[in-house]
């Protein structure tokens, strides 16, 4: 009976993933996955709920309620942090379970190694995720990569220590746990803040692998199936993001990217503009493309975007959204924020779909985006973002950039788009800037 339930649960997980493939079926996918999870959890009790004491049930209920509470409270712009945090919890749980299993002396040798693996990966995921969240919140600056290099160099002897120094043997489990904890902290600490999405997706993949290996230890197929699905999902997102930045995963994990202010000067002053001018320009346009970036998330400007879109559409102006795969701070970040304010996903275009259209676009509004529209990626071989596929907004007839200053984006490099002949800067917070434009429309 239990086996049948687990079979159904595995099948449901897979169909859930399949349904995730289209916006119209994705919300059903979540229901399927929840059902699959509920069945799997239920089956673990093996119809005997009396084996469990109150402490157990209280823990489940309290943490469950806490989970609901947090998830209802969080704002859409904080999604990256939240995913990172939950992810750390998942990894931590797997690590803890592996530790407990290892403490039992009955484990067969083959399982022993799997358990060590699971513990190391789980704990690494835990500490790494916490650091990633802190970085996303801006609570931590980049750490110099030399620390990480030194740590890596010393890792082999550190790992072998318990084998040599007998007194340590009894504590070797705890020692390995500590090492993994430190490794997670150091590894993530040296990576720049805007690379955190890659880190989180990668850690997500690791947490799946940790769950999978926990499945090998406790001999549960459902953990293996579900863990494998998560592992695959995480690694694909990781690689997609890396490809979108034309960097390798290794390169990202090595850290030290971004933050450094190189070649940050402009040999020309940008043309700045006013909300009124922008409004006038927009009302003469036939086609407008909006390119949102991290700044839109920071300013929480999505509602203003929707309002502007409505205003333009009322004037029969075509409005499209061009979304770079790594715009913002997590994959699909912009899509979610725009969906939050009811912008149709049919209007959101990917890089491949829209790049050929810019040359026939009247006005492009770059809203708090920077690196993803930096033409140096096409032209300057020495630039750190060289080769990254970008949105070719500089080919449009007119570009309006809304950001607060001339300061660079995450990659820390100047953006010659800003001093292009067809570009004008509207120096403002994304939300305020848009609201002023909308107000000006009423006056036009």
């Amino acid at each position: 009976m239990i086996e049948v339930i687990l079979l159904v649960s595995s099948v449901l997980f897979i169909f859930a993933l399949k349904l995730f493939g289209r916006p119209s079926t994705a919300h059903r996918a979540n229901t399927f996955a929840m059902l699959a999870m509920a069945l799997a959890v239920f089956s673990a009790f093996n119809f005997d709920f009396s084996n469990y004491d109150p402490a157990f049930y209280i823990t489940i209920v309290v943490s469950g309620l806490l989970g609901v509470l947090i998830s209802k409270r969080v704002q859409m712009t904080q999604m990256p942090e939240l995913v990172g945090l939950f992810n750390g919890f998942g990894g931590g749980a797997s690590g803890a379970i592996a530790y407990v299993e290892l403490s039992k002396s009955t484990l067969p040798l083959s399982d022993y190694f799997v358990a060590i693996f699971s513990m190391v990966i789980g704990v690494f995921t835990f500490s790494g995720s916490i650091i990633a969240v802190l970085k996303l919140r801006g609570k931590l600056n980049n750490v110099n990569t030399t620390i990480a290099n030194i740590f890596s160099a010393f890792l082999p002897p550190l790992i072998l220590l318990p084998a040599i120094w007998e007194e340590m043997e009894i504590l070797s489990l705890e020692y390995f746990m500590l090492l993994s904890l430190i490794a997670g902290i150091i590894r993530v600490a040296v990576i720049g803040g805007a690379d955190m999405p890659v880190v989180i997706a990668f850690l997500n993949s690791l947490s799946g692998i940790a769950a999978m290996s926990a499945g090998f230890i406790v001999n549960s197929i459902i953990l293996i199936v579900a863990g494998a699905l998560v592992g695959a999902s995480g690694i694909i997102l990781t690689l997609l993001m890396c490809a979108a930045m034309n960097r390798t995963l290794l390169d990202v994990l090595k850290g030290g990217f971004g933050g450094a202010a190189i070649n940050n000067e402009y040999d020309k002053d940008p043309i700045s503009t006013s909300p009124e001018d922008v409004a006038i320009q927009l009302s003469y346009a036939e086609s407008v493309v909006i390119v949102p970036g991290y700044g839109m998330a920071v300013a929480q400007a999505q509602a203003a975007v929707k309002e502007l879109t409505n205003t333009l559409k009322d004037k029969n102006i075509e409005v499209k959204f061009a979304i770079h795969p790594v715009a913002g701070r997590m994959p699909g970040h912009m899509n979610v924020l725009l969906a939050e304010v009811d912008i149709d996903y049919e209007d959101m275009y990917t890089l491949e779909d829209i790049n050929s259209e810019f040359s026939s676009t009247d006005v492009v509004i770059v809203l708090g985006a920077n690196d993803v529209v930096n033409p140096l990626a096409r032209t300057d071989e020495n630039s750190p973002i060289y080769g990254m596929p970008i949105l070719d907004v500089d080919l449009a007839k007119q570009v309006i950039v809304i950001k607060r200053s001339m300061s660079p984006g995450y990659a820390g490099i100047a953006n010659p788009l800003f001093i292009n002949d067809n570009a004008k800067m509207l120096f403002a917070d994304a939300k305020e800037g848009l609201e002023n434009i909308i107000k000006s429309f009423e006056l036009v």
């Binding site: 996918a29 989970g67 931590g92 749980a93 407990v100 997500n204 459902i222 009811d342």
Partner: protein, 95 residues
């Protein structure tokens, strides 16, 4: 379900392969909910915690560690699905 090691490996391969095929097809628009949804699924490790809880025996420390694992995993599952649901709700409105 019990199985030989190699059969388990086969299942691991098949499941990873399916994951790879299915997820490669998911459009960028859905990457955030995918991430938070698959994140919730990684809490599946709760099952392992439930399975080993009755077996930890006397040791209070181990028991507490398993309880921590349970708390973590439950948070991950419940919070993850709930937040994914919230995100997907936004996409649903568009239909």
């Amino acid at each position: 379900m019990e199985a030989t090691f190699l059969l388990t490996l086969l299942i691991t391969f098949l499941a990873s392969f399916i994951g790879y095929e299915l997820i490669s097809k998911i459009p960028q628009t859905l990457h955030t909910p995918l991430m938070s949804g698959s994140n919730a699924i990684s809490g599946i490790t709760l099952i392992a915690a439930i399975l080993i809880y009755p077996e930890v025996g006397e040791s209070q420390i181990l028991k507490i560690i398993v309880l921590i694992a349970i708390a973590f995993a439950t948070l991950n599952i419940v919070g993850g699905f709930s937040v994914t649901g919230r995100i997907l709700e936004m996409f649903k409105k568009n239909d």
